[in-house]
């Protein structure tokens, strides 16, 4: 017993290595003795970059929304005021906000409806190679170039494009024409209508909806669905009472992306859409041609506030566990 203890201590003594020589060695020893210093050195560069440069910029932006522009001279006065927020509440700007939020809501709803079957099939039925193919089938469009995707739709929706041709071949041109003659959602051709904007939004954000729904559905045990049908529920009832409630956190998680991305986008409605503005375009126009940085800054506060409430609601529904 005592012999063991003695040999134990001598081993410990042998295990204590002499101090390392050289600058690098003693620096390494210092870091090992003071983990706090190591942590500080690891965190300082990213925190300086993100915490100071990025957050600093965001705060500078927020601060500018409390400045105002002198309408006659076009100069920006740096006195704190709520005047710019008053301008934001003008009818024309409220229209822009309502239009954007409505579009975001409709896009989110449509994405959820299209995404669900893909996510459900991938989660429950696809196995092995098929599962990998499904995964890549969602990831590739997600990561493909954003502008190329928009460009592809410009080709498709153009008046002389493939969709018009397809409708003509199917002798359904009257359907397309009557759709385009509808007020608000119609237009000269699909590529200059809200319908076109809507289709492209759904297309570009759809993968962001599929992935979280699939993640939520992966966690639903298959025998739960079987038990439901064993107990006499029709597929429709099973969907409504079993699958849908369990998938809901995933849908809400996906909707965070589709909603937020639609709120902030300004390129899609600029290239495929009407001349009526969305929030992103208003921000771009205010800071660029109009030179009204305070109003542009106040406009950017709108999606941030909306998303703040949205995230708060989503957190209460448990959506973050599905991410």
């Amino acid at each position: 017993m005592s012999v063991q203890a003695v040999s134990g201590t001598s081993n410990v003594a042998a295990a204590i290595l002499p101090r390392r020589g050289g600058l690098a060695g003693s620096f390494s020893d210092l870091l090992w003795r003071k983990p706090g210093l190591l942590l500080f050195l690891m965190l300082a560069p990213p925190l300086l970059w993100l915490g100071v440069v990025y957050i600093g910029s965001l705060i500078a932006l927020l601060a500018q929304s409390f400045f105002s522009i002198d309408e006659f001279s076009g100069l920006i006065s740096r006195e704190l005021t709520l005047k710019t927020y008053g301008d934001l509440l003008q009818a024309v700007n409220l229209d822009i906000i309502v239009r954007t939020v409505t579009m975001a809501a409709v896009v989110t709803l449509a994405s959820a409806i299209i995404a669900f079957p893909i996510a459900y099939y991938a989660a429950r039925y696809a196995r092995g190679t098929w599962k990998a193919l499904f995964y890549l089938g969602v990831m590739l469009p997600l990561w493909s170039s954003y502008l190329v995707k928009i460009y592809a739709w410009k080709l498709i929706l153009a008046k002389e494009g493939i969709l018009t041709w397809l409708f003509a071949k199917l002798h359904l041109s009257w359907l397309l024409d009557s759709w385009l003659s509808l007020p608000v959602i119609g237009g000269n051709s699909l590529s200059v209508s809200f319908t076109g904007t809507f289709i492209v939004f759904v297309y570009v954000w759809l993968p962001f909806m599929i992935l979280p729904i699939q993640a939520a559905l992966e966690r639903v045990p298959g025998n739960l669905v079987e038990a439901s049908s064993d107990l006499g529920a029709s597929p429709r009832q099973t969907f409504r009472n079993v699958l849908f409630p369990l998938a809901l956190p995933g849908i809400v998680a996906g909707s965070i992306f589709t909603f937020s991305l639609t709120l902030g986008d300004y390129i899609i409605p600029q290239i495929i859409g009407t001349s009526r503005l969305f929030i992103g375009q208003a921000v771009y126009a205010q800071q660029g041609t109009a030179g009204n940085i305070p109003l542009a800054a106040a406009f950017t506060v709108v999606p941030v506030v909306i998303m703040g409430f949205y995230l708060w609601g989503a957190k209460r529904m448990g959506a973050f566990d599905a991410l």
Binding site: A122, L147, Y151, G161, F208, D265, Y266
Partner: protein, 271 residues
């Protein structure tokens, strides 16, 4: 009343899933057809004829090469910065416990969670307040900010699977911190970093919204593309560039998938 475990999906579900996937892929495939069209003035379908002459024309365009070169440089440097910052952050968050850990992961995700236009205009107004002129480096600064999250996500996922006792064992066996990093930590997280780096590269290479705010006169490839979309000059050249961009982004994504597929965090989940 089914008791047999039927593994075949209902026909309706199959059709809906297949239609959804077709909706995701057909538009991109269409780009490949248009790259060969002989039509110059419109987006006419079906194409009146096919030709490969536009590839030669595009090859000879100096502005395309310049934009491509700038995009590659920006993406390479931003990826480098993101690799350093993202790995440091991931190591700190996953290997240690400290006050404010949750806040750090939120901070890293923020540049990509907020709409790009907010990041863009915030940086632009900060540059103008600080009187920094637009340059190559202002573009890099914007790109690196949102690329950090991709590297971070991949590295954090791998750090979680790497046992901390490996590092302790290395130190116990007499390696100093740098040797441990080089011979133990780096081989363990290497593929995750490679995957994260490729995705960051793809993200930066494709970015347009933040870039429109942080670039001066320089044109990255997406900015060039945006110009062509807003004011088309030579549509066939745009078609060819679009096709090349699709092919160029395809490869890093496939590679990143193969590098991280073994039960790892979904590589792109943070985009």
């Amino acid at each position: 009343m089914r008791s047999d475990r039927s593994q075949s999906a209902p026909t309706g579900l199959k059709i809906a899933a297949a239609a959804g996937l077709a909706f995701l892929h057909l538009p991109i495939l269409l780009i490949f057809v248009y790259a060969f069209t002989t039509e110059e003035k419109s987006y006419q379908w079906p194409p009146p004829g096919f030709t490969t002459q536009w590839f030669a024309v595009t090859w000879g365009r100096a502005d395309v090469w310049q934009a491509l070169g700038l995009s590659v440089q920006v993406a390479a440097i931003s990826t480098g910065i993101a690799l350093v910052l993202g790995t440091l952050c991931a190591a700190a968050v996953s290997q240690t416990r400290f006050f404010g850990r949750e806040a750090i992961s939120l901070l890293v995700i923020l540049p990509i969670a907020l709409p790009g236009i907010i990041t863009g205009i915030a940086l632009r107004s900060a540059f103008s307040l600080a009187e920094i002129p637009f340059s190559f480096w202002t573009i890099v600064l914007g790109h690196a900010t949102f690329c950090v999250v991709v590297v971070y996500n991949n590295a954090v996922a791998r750090f979680r699977r790497t046992s901390g006792s490996l590092i302790e064992a290395s130190m116990d066996l007499g390696a100093d911190g740098f040797q441990t990093f080089r011979h133990v930590i780096l081989p363990n997280i290497g593929t995750a970093l490679l995957a994260g780096g490729m995705l960051a590269f793809a993200l930066s290479f494709d970015e347009v919204i933040v870039t429109t705010f942080t670039a001066g006169q320089q044109q990255t490839l997406p900015i060039w593309m945006l110009e062509e979309l807003v004011r088309p000059r030579q549509r066939p050249v745009t078609n060819v560039v679009a096709m090349v961009v699709v092919l160029a982004t395809l490869l890093p994504i496939l590679a990143a998938y193969y590098l991280t597929r073994e039960g790892d965090q979904i590589a792109g989940a943070g985009k």
